[in-house]
């Protein structure tokens, strides 16, 4: 009893105080984020084991793994996966090459380079849907600018439909995506190039390395982190491509441009199978998680914390 009264009054240490403040500061954002992402993801996971219809959307009729198994056996699913992979690899690959080229071009500082850099911001800032609508109009079979241009130049004898053959339609959607996304990669890479130390480059030049060697052995390795970040971000985005396909081809012709996101949309909202739509979207989430881990390893450097 006597001992207890001798104890100093209870106080919070500075650290404890900071933690309490931290929790209060974080609370509003965390409640929002986890309420609108974590909870829905778990909900999606539960739904994916049911055959809940859109017409009566509360989780019902537990069906085990059958949604997942049905997809693994369906040709439509594997075709959508294949198209998504094709779209991602081709568009991101071309975007990276063009983006790097444009970044190097800006870095060479030809007259007017600043105007080029400013111009890059425009396609980047144009909304995705406007970009899609614009290219859909360009590809128009009866009045489109692509037809008009090729016809005026004498390349084609008469107008032709561009979006009636699945593979060609997919490639033309990729062109539209490239126009929109190259500037992003070019801007990131030119910013990274501007921060590279010049000494190495100069030293190599003094030692007799030619421009190509200096690029391949010095600049490219130094650019690797920026390239990887751009690559992961674009890969995740390309893998979930939806908007631009919705506007340009609506998944057509003959499902020829249905990617995995588009298939999920069709399952959930056109066919009204919320259960199998949820199974698909959960597969996309898993893939994204893997990419996110790669991204975190690239971007998150614990040593920058104070």
């Amino acid at each position: 009893m006597a001992q207890a009264t001798l104890r100093p009054p209870k106080t919070y240490s500075l650290l404890q105080y900071e933690i309490r403040e931290g929790i209060l500061f974080l609370l509003p954002a965390m409640v929002l984020i986890f309420g609108i992402t974590l909870f829905p993801i778990l909900f999606t996971f539960v739904l994916s084991f049911t055959d809940t219809p859109l017409s009566n959307p509360s989780p019902q009729n537990f069906v085990g793994l059958s949604n997942y198994l049905a997809f693994l056996r369906s040709a439509q699913f594997w075709q959508a996966i294949w198209r998504t992979v094709y779209f991602t690899v081709v568009s991101v690959g071309v975007e990276l090459l063009l983006g790097l080229g444009i970044a190097l071009l800006i870095h060479a500082r030809p007259p007017g380079w600043a105007f080029l850099r400013t111009s890059l911001i425009i396609p980047w800032a144009v909304p995705t849907i406007v970009n899609g609508a614009l290219w859909r109009w360009i590809y128009n079979a009866d009045y489109g600018a692509l037809n008009g241009l090729l016809y005026s130049l004498g390349v084609i004898e008469k107008y032709r439909p561009w979006l009636t053959e699945p593979m060609q339609a997919l490639n033309l959607v990729i062109v539209a995506d490239i126009w929109h996304s190259v500037p992003f990669i070019a801007l990131i890479l030119q910013a990274a190039l501007a921060t590279l130390p010049l000494e190495l480059d100069e030293a190599a030049a003094v030692d007799g390395a030619n421009a190509w060697q200096r690029f391949w052995f010095i600049r490219l390795p130094l650019l690797r982190p920026a390239i990887l970040v751009a690559l992961v971000i674009r890969t995740v985005e390309a893998f979930r491509v939806f908007d631009i396909i919705y506007v340009i081809t609506q998944g057509g012709p003959a499902f020829g441009t249905v990617t995995i996101s588009y298939l999920t949309y069709l399952e959930s909202f056109s066919y009204g199978h919320l259960g199998s739509g949820a199974a698909l979207s959960f597969l996309i989430t898993l893939f994204t998680l893997v990419m996110a881990l790669a991204y975190i390893r690239l971007l998150y450097r614990p040593e920058v914390q104070g």
Partner: protein, 286 residues
Amino acid sequence: MKHWRRAVSTAILLGLMALVLLFIYAPIAWLVLSSISTRAELLAVPPHWIPEHPTLKNYRDILIPGTAVSEVARTFSITLRNSFIVAGSTTLICLVTGSLAGYALARLRLPFRNALFMSILGVRMVPEISLVVPLYIIAARLALLNKPIILIITYLSFALPFAIWMLSTFFESVPRELEDAALIDGSSRLGTLFRVVLPVAAPGIVSTALFTFLLAWDEFFFALIFTSTIAAKTVPVAIAEFTGRYAVDITAMMTGGVLAALPPVLLALIFQRYIVSGLSAGAVKG
């Protein structure tokens, strides 16, 4: 000799630059030209590249109520307003809650900080399609479909993690001594954040606001699923509706396209240096 080689390499660079500029501006030019052409000139074969009778009629049709032919065009200005409300509110909420959270993550000694940082980065990557079905079910239950509030709430799912990440990067670069001085003088954390940190990090805030606004303005998928009436429909949904399967209202679609692109393009051009610095700070909008 050396002089001569230099001239050639400059010429090559300029040639390449001309090609890139053509690639950038040709589609833009066609978008703008289409919006000031009459339907007849656009539907000529081959089209009149430079309209002989340029007109602003398309803009009048789409902006002034009662003049347009189609339903979508008649209601376009309302969708423009909806987009401003949704993108503006999303940005505002992100800045307020994101500043608090970003500051705590950047400065305070928290035991679970690394885990939080990483989960925020992870959440940022979650595709909308993974969230849409449950959010749709909940929104339908709470009768929130076709209201701007459902878009504002759901846009936070990608905009808020993004804003927190970006803001905390900027807060980390604020010199600690400034804050310590204020704290020793008896200023509270919140007071220090508002009076010392935010003003110093102002360029970062502008940058974050810009990126968040552009992200929300660009969003299409949630808007497509959650809104079908004019009460909350945003500009991207309206433009997608111009491309109805059978009748495409080309002039309205291109005019709407110009109007939808103007706010983000102008903002991005005016605040150019914030965009470039934001991109290099690891900020990300594809």
